[in-house]
Symmetry: C2
Subunit: 155 residues, 2 copies
């Protein structure tokens, strides 16, 4: 018979939060190290990548996918613009919107950066067997969307 565990020891939700943070941190270190090889920051890479895979997009759509606040998005896009990696164009249908797209230089950079980065990320998570990777994807998707739906704690 199991002796009754302390409440803390059995607190699965808190444990989940901790291992989630640790796992993210561990994998994120790989991501940053990999991306640094191409002279880019994580967020810069994220912008180039989404434009590479989705084509021209409004700034707000890009923002949604790179997980930073709007002011940070502006900052990062500015830097990419100054480096000649993206171009801006006003939307014809909504005059609030700026559309972003890769320049030729930007496309070339992400084209040669993405494959080795993807390989590095596959190695980073590769210790987990494929079957469990698929399970983890399912659980994390549910966890993420679930958490996004809960209302945030209020002041």
């Amino acid at each position: 018979m199991k002796r009754s565990p302390s409440a803390a020891r059995a607190d699965v939700p808190l444990k989940l939060w901790i291992v989630l943070a640790r796992a993210f941190d561990a994998v994120n270190r790989h991501s940053r190290a990999s991306i640094a090889r191409f002279g880019l920051g994580t967020t810069e890479f994220g912008v180039l990548e989404v434009l590479y895979h989705k084509g021209e997009l409004p700034v707000c759509e890009v923002q949604r996918r790179i997980l930073v606040e709007s002011s940070s998005t502006t900052y990062v896009v500015d830097k990419l613009y100054e480096r000649g990696l993206v171009r801006r164009r006003p939307s014809a249908t909504d005059r609030r919107v700026t559309l972003l797209a890769l320049t030729t230089t930007g496309r070339r950079l992400i084209e040669r950066s993405f494959p080795p980065h993807a390989a590095a990320m596959r190695r980073a998570v590769g210790a987990l067997p494929p079957r469990e990777q698929a399970q983890a994807v399912r659980l994390l998707r549910a966890l993420g969307t679930g958490a996004a739906l809960q209302p945030l704690a209020e002041p």
Copy 2:
């Protein structure tokens, strides 16, 4: 028979990295919002919490648990020190080491902050049923330790 999916669509490892990042972000927003209620930042809270649960610890032990670089640890501990929430004491056995502990004020703050924060985090991950939470803990633990063991990409 399934038609052959594009390579990208079947790339479970990359998908895993994406949903991991999304899930972390979603839950982390809850964490930050919750902690902000007590006038603390995420990392500050982390320091107080580890000292609360583990007692007096060397700075390096604290750092290992809060997932930031050593220079950031110094910065955060300084702030807590200036606010009178932690005290520093040289180790008797290793003169490189500084031991950190809560002051009475610090203890009182974390004592009344931790329970509501824990409750908020339980709500944040609560959309996932308990059984799947336990599964996720197991998978994320394996993922995290596995990733930590892989060598980082080099310049």
